[in-house]
């Protein structure tokens, strides 16, 4: 088997006395959808922030496509093909949907110290952006200001912006957050389409989606990976049941 696209070795991060990531070791294989699940506060979003370069890690190393990226900035990691979507929708509301995606294209089309020609009429940016919007099912909404899109559409746009950077690895932070059943189903289909073309690290609370999509699942509890394996193995894992499913059941009981 080929070398893993992403290798996480002994990664750690604490905020004061709170340990968010605790000596984490994890390999992400080329082409897989690797879901990371865990109860609230398990450190999933912190991990994404560390992998994308937004947060500096206290210790440990991250290798991406054979290269040590531990100290690289967010833009530098993006340039290498590591893209990220945000748990809280993070788009440019005043710009059209097309502008949003075109910006991502522009970020990887050489430097932007170009002061004269209007970017809004640059076929080198618009055409690829439009193609991605079409693929993702937002083609008809291209010229709409992003603020006017529905929540589900904004979540799709979020993914489109990540895709437009032509990433080899996508870090998706709860792409289904706040979505209704129909919207979630659409997103599952979308991610299934992406499978094979991109390696995806998927953080998600929607367990139906996770078990439908993931090739492998890692369960994170208090910043530690307590189990990694195929969906079937994870479902049958006693430790996971106790640590994760157990707490949820307990919560359900107490709230009932």
């Amino acid at each position: 088997m080929a070398e893993p696209i992403l290798q996480i070795e002994g990664l750690a991060k604490s905020f004061g006395s709170l340990v968010a990531t605790d000596d984490l070791h994890l390999d992400i294989e080329q082409g897989e959808i690797h879901a990371i699940i865990g109860p609230n506060g398990a450190g999933k979003t912190t991990l994404i922030a560390q992998l994308s370069g937004e947060l500096k890690s206290d210790s440990g190393r991250v290798r991406f496509a054979g290269r040590d990226i531990t100290t690289l900035s967010m833009p530098a990691r993006s340039a290498l093909g590591l893209a990220r979507s945000f748990q809280i929708t993070s788009i440019f509301p005043d710009f059209s949907a097309l502008d949003n995606v075109a910006l991502s294209v522009q970020a990887h089309a050489g430097h932007s110290f170009r002061f004269w020609r209007p970017a809004g009429r640059d076929p080198g940016l618009r055409a690829p952006a439009r193609k991605i919007l079409d693929e993702i099912g937002l083609g008809s909404r291209a010229d709409e200001p992003a603020a006017n899109l529905s929540h589900g559409e904004q979540r799709q746009l979020e993914i489109a912006m990540a895709l437009a950077t032509r990433p080899s690895l996508l870090l998706l932070d709860e792409p289904m957050a706040g979505m209704g059943r129909d919207e979630s189903a659409k997103m599952v289909n979308l991610l299934r389409d992406l499978k094979g073309r991109h390696t995806i690290v998927l953080i998600e609370h929607d367990m139906d989606a996770v078990f439908a999509l993931a090739d492998r699942i890692t369960v994170l509890v208090y910043g530690r990976a307590i189990a990694t394996g195929a969906p079937g193995d994870i479902r049958a894992n006693d430790e996971v049941r106790a640590a994760y499913l157990g707490t949820e059941t307990a919560q359900e009981v107490s709230s009932a």
Partner: protein, 326 residues
């Protein structure tokens, strides 16, 4: 940047262009001076709008670059170097360099810290200018108008006026192009969401720094014209209240609209000129307290007139849809 905005810009420029013939016809040369002054501040305000309105960088020390441009002219003139072809490159180079250095340090911070650090740098240069005894210190110094090898006579009021006019028009056109360019997209998007810009792969710091430096340079050019206008240079140009006034012009006129700050500069300087006179007419000795009226006007514009004078024009003259400007 829609069509209405372009028409409003052209109409404004057309009015400025028409001023000199009108002042001749009505024999009111004073107004030509006044509008020339307004245009000089308009250039400075437009340059501030690039970083404040479009880039979201609230620089509270922008007038300092006007001072750098003005002092470049004043100091060269002091040594007998009145050639504008020398003065302008020196002035632009100096304001660009200082903008680059101040920007490089200020842009490491954001929010209130950015406001405070730009103010601190500006005050630093202000007090440096005061300490320059050789160049008049606190009192400033008189300076000759620039010479352009006989091509342009800056002492001819009409020629001088149109020099300023052409600079304003070119700055507006250039920045209009810039705002829509790839570079412009980056700084506008970074204002809205810097973190996201970094995540999609833009090292935003260097783009913001370039915008900051460019704005400083253009403001330095306004300073060159300011020194020529007054034939006098003093530290007062760099005082923080003038930085504040530039911000007021931008906000009053409409942030992120380019032509708005021109309208803002016009409104602000006209009010500053006429408000005391009107108040004097209403009540003796009331004129010196003009700030009592000016203050509430500014507050009202900030509270109720979001989008400034520009939005007012856009809403009343053209009553079509399209509330958003991209």
């Amino acid at each position: 940047m829609d069509r209405r905005q372009i028409w409003l810009s052209l109409a404004t420029l057309a009015m400025f262009a028409a001023v000199p013939p009108l002042t001749v016809i009505f024999d009111q040369p004073f107004y030509m001076d006044m509008i020339a002054r307004i245009m000089v501040f308009a250039i400075a305000a437009v340059s501030l709008d690039l970083i404040l309105g479009h880039g979201g960088m609230v620089s509270f020390g922008h007038a300092v670059y006007m001072g750098v441009g003005a002092y470049a002219v004043g100091i060269l003139s002091y040594y007998g170097l009145d050639n504008g072809f020398l003065q302008i490159p020196v002035a632009l180079g100096a304001s660009a360099l200082i903008g680059l250095v101040f920007g490089a340090m200020s842009l490491r911070t954001t929010g209130v810290y950015f406001i405070m650090i730009t103010l601190a740098f500006a005050q630093m240069l202000y007090f440096l200018a005061i300490s320059l005894e050789e160049f008049g210190g606190d009192d400033g110094m008189s300076s000759m108008r620039s010479e352009f090898g006989g091509v342009i006579d800056m002492y001819d009021a009409m020629q001088f006026y149109y020099v300023i006019f052409v600079v304003l028009a070119l700055v507006l056109f250039g920045l209009h192009r810039l705002v829509l360019s790839r570079f412009g997209m980056v700084i506008r998007a970074a204002r809205s969401n810097d973190r996201r810009m970094q995540a999609v792969g833009f090292p935003t710091y260097r783009y913001k720094l370039a915008a900051f430096t460019l704005a400083s340079t253009i403001c330095g050019l306004a300073g060159v014209l300011f020194a020529n206008l007054n034939e006098f240079v003093s530290p007062d140009v760099m005082h923080w209240t003038h930085s504040g006034e530039l911000m007021v012009m931008v906000i009053m006129g409409g942030m992120g609209t380019l032509i708005g700050p021109v309208l803002g500069a016009t409104a602000f300087l006209l009010l500053e000129e006429y408000l005391p006179q009107w108040m004097e007419m209403a009540m003796t000795n009331a004129g010196e307290h003009w700030a009592i009226i000016m203050g509430p006007i500014l507050i009202a514009i900030v509270l109720f007139g979001r989008g400034g004078i520009h939005a007012l024009f856009a809403a009343t003259i053209w009553r079509s849809g399209g509330k958003r400007n991209g």
